[in-house]
Symmetry: C2
Amino acid sequence: MSEFILDERLAASTVHALDLPLSRVLVMNDARWPWLILVPRRAGMVEMFDLEPADRMMLIEELAMAGKQLKALTGCHKINIANLGNVVAQLHIHVIARNPDDPADPAGNGPVWGKGEAIPYEPQALQDFVQAVVKMF
Amino acid sequence: MSEFILDERLAASTVHALDLPLSRVLVMNDARWPWLILVPRRAGMVEMFDLEPADRMMLIEELAMAGKQLKALTGCHKINIANLGNVVAQLHIHVIARNPDDPADPAGNGPVWGKGEAIPYEPQALQDFVQAVVKMF
């Protein structure tokens, strides 16, 4: 059984916040949206249906918890939860806080992916957000 | 307990294929991508975390089945599974077949939402696809 290794493109654009029973929780270093990525710590997974059913049960509970707590933390209007994987194949699920005035096109409605360049957090703001995420769980 | 009623914007852009134990399965009438939408038949749901845990278990199994079978049917490269809900609040989850040469921007990598206008299927092609979706489950 091979070992789980985080895709290096995911690692490069995020900060590792914590590990849940199944998933690694990453914070996207993009101050435009409060944005988490959950990566099931299982080697070789690409699609949700690649996971064992028991892992899928854990995954959806971890996603629901992440979404609920991110909404409580940010007071956002809507949570987006999405597995795309068009660019990075390793199974990873986005959990993103959306608001009507956010910088998507159209604001609040359009998808966030592929929308311009990430705006990195200021170091203190990044540390504060990561700490808040750790405390969410 | 109020009754489940499908949002009329979802109804207007889709065809009802079948009902699973939890979810209504809709076929998006957009020939650019093989595209299903699963709508849990529970009134008043907006976020995945609004569902009861037992319903979430059913939901992720229905999504996994839909994704696996849509991939088998279409031979696509990747399945996208996403709950956005920025425009239509009623909880609904997209299951979309993606390919490297598909009409997203960039092709195969960009998100499909908000990308130009839907191209309706020819009537026979729509009927054939809906029938194939019914047989998937």
